[in-house]
């Protein structure tokens, strides 16, 4: 079995910052495992500005923010990056098993940092009734389709929830020539940053329905329409307030959940940025959902240092 000082799972902003920090704190034998074919994680599809104001004191887009760390990681020759590699198992004896093109490998580490990010909540998690046609996307998936793959998922869009990704994608769809017919938010105010309400929603005159929810999705092979109903502050439906919106696409922007299946499967508990197993750490969105990446970087630097100290003291 291959032995490593430090294995980091995930090459997004958290994993990259942890790798750079651990290296700066004396760890020279680092394996960074990334499932995609490039580093940067979600930042690569966040082509809008607003990143780096706290950390770099500049206004950057996601790809630019990622690029600065990709360069740092590349310049630190002791950091080996394994691309197209998916971790299938984490064990409490500090072994990591991952699938890379052509083979399965297991590596034993002195310390492990899990930086696996988060997932978007789905339609099933917010219990919307109706049929299951094509045309229902999580906002982040639509973002990847448009910004990376160059595909426009639909022409007449309803956004469910007012999370930041949903607001940003509402603007993106409008810029690409689609019509965003409504943003439906069950709460009485936006869950996203105020700046996104201004520059994404108000700038493009997109209608927002607060205290409303989608009560049903209609459509056979493709989404055809949704019905929308007003709710009170306790989310009780208000009779007689039902109306319909024709659309071919629904974007779900109803929150994020940390992705910790590997940690759960290993029977490990997360305790702050550490875990119940000494030497296994967690950082970034897999630890908690962050609003801005600058804070992820700052916190992940600390975790990189903690891991370096742990290795040094072994």
């Amino acid at each position: 079995m291959v032995k490593r000082d430090l294995v980091i799972v995930g090459g997004g902003p958290a994993g990259m910052a942890a790798a750079v920090s651990a290296h700066e704190n004396g760890v020279k034998d680092i394996l960074l495992i990334e499932r995609d074919r490039y580093l940067g994680g979600i930042l690569n599809q966040c082509i809008h500005t607003g990143f780096g104001i706290n950390y770099f004191k500049e206004i950057l887009t996601g790809p630019e923010y990622a690029d600065r760390f990709i360069k740092k990681v590349r310049d630190m020759l002791d950091i080996e990056v394994s691309f197209n590699s998916i971790v299938v198992k984490l064990a409490s004896d500090k072994t990591v098993t991952f699938l890379k093109p052509g083979r399965l490998e297991t590596v034993k580490a002195k310390a492990i940092i899990m930086a696996t990010g988060c997932r978007e909540k789905t339609r099933e998690m917010v219990h919307i009734q109706g049929s299951r046609p094509a045309g229902i996307f999580s906002a982040g998936l639509a973002q990847k389709l448009i910004n990376i793959e160059g595909l426009l998922p639909g022409k007449e869009v309803v956004v469910v929830g007012s999370g930041d990704i949903g607001l940003i994608m509402a603007r993106r769809f409008v810029m690409e020539g689609a019509r965003v017919k409504a943003i439906i938010e069950i709460q009485k105010e936006s869950r996203g940053l105020l700046r996104n309400m201004v520059q994404c929603v108000e700038d493009f005159d997109i209608p927002v329905y607060f205290n409303h929810k989608i009560s049903r999705i209609f459509g056979k092979s493709r989404v055809e329409k949704v019905s929308v109903i007003r709710v009170d502050d306790s989310f009780n439906e208000i009779p007689g307030s039902l109306f319909e919106i024709q659309c071919d696409t629904i974007l779900m922007s109803v929150g994020l959940i940390s992705e910790n299946e590997l940690i759960d499967m290993a029977g490990i508990r997360i305790e702050e940025n550490k875990t119940s197993v000494p030497g296994i750490f967690v950082c970034g969105n897999s630890f908690k959902i962050y609003d801005i990446v600058d804070t992820v970087t700052k916190d992940s630097f600390l975790v990189g240092k903690l891991a370096a100290n742990y290795i040094t003291n072994q």
Binding site: P63, E64, D67, I146, E176, R195, V198, Q199, D203
Partner: protein, 114 residues
Amino acid sequence: MTCIECPKGCRLAVNIENGRVAKVTGNECPKGEKYAIGEVENPTRIFTSTVLGQGLELKMIPVRTDKAIAKSKIFEAMTQIKRIKISKPLNAGDIIIRNFLGLDVNLIATRKME
């Protein structure tokens, strides 16, 4: 209005006299005052989108303007960038179009692409 310069989103109170900003309050830093004046007298935004790549590792290359442009120019900017095809590798920060739309800003790549 809400300042969009940083994620804090300060609520600004703006006194306007004859279409010009007379006084700004509620801002926690000098950026807020500048933003309020711009928003009233000439609203601008950094334009971000993607352009098509050809024969490069990914289909879409993210781009932005290096300075803010008038909000009213966003759709003209979209029409213009649909005509672009990039076939040479580039780095983040490389200029794709100089003096974009004649607005004295450059359109730059925001991601390295080989």
